[in-house]
């Protein structure tokens, strides 16, 4: 790629799968895109980059960091070069996620009811009961249509040979879908004509699909059930997403204090008095949703809402207690679940996972700590994590002590190198590591996955952590039709 102002210095890293280049040149998915941008000058590209930032700022697609008094407006860093997937790749991913979600959903139903999987010795009872996110209150609760995971985000990564692995299942309140939608709306502003030319599949159906599923959950015999989105409020870092989704679906955005429970029914306080609520898409965590049942100090929830849910007067999405299925130690059993419940071979691979509650695993991991990622089982957002290759001796020692004290709360995985994708940084394209989070919607009519999802990128050179709280950004994700 010599001679091109933007592509000139792009180098593949050894033992890293690059999304755009292979040894022979540009991969087919990227060819059309590259041919449209390769003649642009650095100035033109930089101009596009600045335009994107300006659009994010003026549309208020920001999150506020309250560090010292007045909040600082920040935009979620956006890289203008899209991540492109071919139709066949996407088909594979889609099938894999659907299979996985089916199994996970049956698992949740099973674990909160008959527990066949424990009785048959597939998953140890101890693992489930020691999981802090196993919600006893959900045992024997009837969930509408037996669906627990209405909205999920499955994090995928690619190893050096291009194989997709599932890194994490997010089955509680996965966020980021609004960035998927906004990134697309920015892309067509900065790259006119490129989307139709490349035959990129649209993501704009997401709100409609979601609303259709939510409406279907209503229990009252009513043509227009009341569906609301429950947000923790404007100080939540995902608040922008909550408003965007509420607006796109045309539903009411409520805070905990807007709702009240009377006789196991949930009402919202309106200017015309109380109005019954049928379905709640909640973005408040389990712990905070009902102070009478969970954390008593929660100001974000609604007292009595659990009772209303249990009696079936209101549907809550996602169901409570899903954390037991996306626990990082339970994750290791997902391939077994797929075999046990569906009698199928897993389509998407799991990253090999060592549970540190097992003394043999512990020994093995301690010996090879520099080649391992060690994670706390119930944390997310890139926190509570140690990447062996980049850790200091002192950090390793601290982790060793913590693991010895509470081995159930840790797992270890071999370091997967994560694929790289080109990012426009400082006037040139540079490879940065990415993952992919497609969003799946599970409704009474089946599972829908909008083509694409959110590609998160570790903007620091060499970094493997893509979380936005740790210096990560995002890219628009194209699935070619």
């Amino acid at each position: 790629m010599e001679g091109h102002p933007i592509l000139g210095n792009y180098h593949n890293q050894p033992r890293v799968w690059d999304e755009m280049f292979d040894t022979a040149g540009i991969r087919p998915a990227y060819q059309q895109f590259v041919s449209s941008i390769q003649d642009l000058s650095v100035d033109e590209m930089t101009h596009k980059d600045e335009l994107a930032k300006k659009l994010f700022m003026s549309q208020g697609i920001t999150f506020t960091v309250y560090s010292s008094g007045e909040g600082i407006e920040k935009i979620f860093p956006f890289d203008i070069v899209p991540r492109i997937l071919e139709a066949a790749e996407w088909k594979h991913i889609e099938a894999g996620i659907k299979q996985r979600l089916k199994a996970l959903n049956i698992f949740l139903k099973d674990i909160y009811n008959q527990q066949f999987i424990i009785n048959d010795g597939i998953v140890p009872a101890k693992l489930i009961y020691s999981c802090p996110n196993f919600v006893r209150q959900m045992v024997n609760v009837n969930v509408p249509f037996d669906i627990y995971t209405h909205i999920s985000g499955i994090d995928l990564i690619r190893d050096h040979d291009g194989t997709y692995y599932v890194l994490e299942d997010n089955l509680r309140t996965p966020s980021g879908v609004s960035y998927m939608l906004e990134n697309r709306s920015i892309t067509y502003r900065i790259f006119p004509d490129l989307l139709p030319k490349n035959n990129v599949r649209s993501v704009k159906d997401y709100p409609d699909l979601l609303l259709k599923n939510l409406v279907a959950l209503a229990n009252r015999q009513k043509s227009d059930p009341t569906v609301v989105l429950l947000t923790p409020g404007i100080y939540n870092s995902a608040y922008f997403e909550h408003t965007t989704l509420a607006r796109l679906m045309g539903i009411e955005l409520v805070e905990g204090s807007d709702l009240v429970v009377d006789n196991h029914k949930v009402y919202m306080k309106t200017t015309t008095g109380l109005k019954q609520v049928d379905v709640i898409y909640r973005r408040v965590d389990d712990d905070f949703i009902d102070p009478l049942v969970f954390r008593p100090d929660s100001m974000l929830g609604v007292p009595g809402i659990y009772g209303a849910y249990r009696t079936g007067h209101v549907a809550i999405v996602n169901a409570m207690g899903n954390g037991v299925a996306d626990d990082k130690a339970v994750y290791a059993y997902v391939p077994d679940m797929i075999k046990y419940y569906l009698n199928e071979e897993p389509i998407l691979k799991n990253v090999p996972t060592y549970q540190l509650a097992d003394p043999d695993n512990r020994k093995l991991v301690f010996k090879n700590m520099d080649q391992m990622v060690i994670k706390r089982t119930n944390e997310s957002g890139g926190y509570g994590m140690l990447i062996g290759s980049a850790a200091t001796e002192k950090e390793m020692k601290a982790f060793r002590i913590a693991i010895e004290e509470d081995p159930r709360s840790f797992i270890a995985q071999p370091i997967i190198s994560l694929s790289s994708a080109p990012c426009y940084i400082n006037g040139v394209l540079q490879p940065r590591r990415v993952d992919l989070r497609p969003y799946a919607l599970y409704g009474p009519d089946g599972i829908d996955i909008v083509p694409g999802g959110l590609t998160r990128v570790a903007l620091k050179e060499g970094s493997l952590v893509v979380n936005s709280s740790q210096g990560g950004g995002s890219k628009d994700t194209w699935v070619l039709g």
């Binding site: 549309q59 409020g233 607006r247 009411e252 955005l253 306080k269 200017t271 015309t272």
Partner: protein
Amino acid sequence: MLSRVADSVFWMARYMERTNGMLRILRTNYISSQDEVKDFSWQPLLLSHSDAPAEEVKSIGNNSAKVLQHLLFERNNGASVINNITRARENARAVQDHITKEVWQCLNDYYHLIRSKHIQSQLQQGDPVSALDTLIHHGMLYHGTVDITMARGEAFNYLNIGKFLERAILTADMLNIKLTELNYNLQQPKEVPALRYLLYSLSGYELYLKTHRGNFQADHVLQQILYNNNFPHSVAYCLGQLFRYFQRLETESLPESYKQLEFLIGRAMNNVRYSSIRPSESENLKEFLQQTRSELFSIAAAFNQYYFGNS
């Protein structure tokens, strides 16, 4: 509509109206401080538009640049323009699904504008009038955006109720401030420039000239500011509009709430309409303004109680 949403929309409109009013007052006062008025003092304005401690206000004194800085950009002054815009935006943020995207973006831009270095340096080193004009224009953009994009539903009604209630309060307040400066003595042989500036601030000077052809009298000024139904800042006009938008809420109100508010607004409207104020009766005038203000505040309190669920 959620009570909280109605509350936020109402306050968003009030903060925006307050912002607009303040910017105009600052503009006229700044110009008059540069122009003909001798011994111009910022103190009355500072006292009414700042919640900073009295010593701090004293220390600002009559330095125009400092005064503008304090009233526009000072975060520690709870009544400063930047704080008003921030609050309007926070309210808008909490009801983004009830205002249009355009209105939200306009407010968001306004917030970024007043925080920009450019505006602040223009105020300090350049021409403060241009800086104020830029801010005022953006406020107008907001009003236009609301008018053009918002559906004529509940949210729009609450926006207008907030706007006209705040405007009525502002007009009454500004009149009160000016009259207090003059000790409520309007029987002065010479023309009072303060009243001219008051009309400027309320964008009513041109109307006044057209109506009265340069015959400048305190009585006429009072008539226009209190009673003129064609003057969009007069107390009577604001109350009329307030009532008009309130009536549109009837089908979406609980009957008893509606009755309460209808009574309060109707009474305030009639008290203004059927009053007769002459500049010579300074005691009456003072009392009348006090009463009008307290009636306006009780309307706001009643909305808070009956419609926004904050008892």
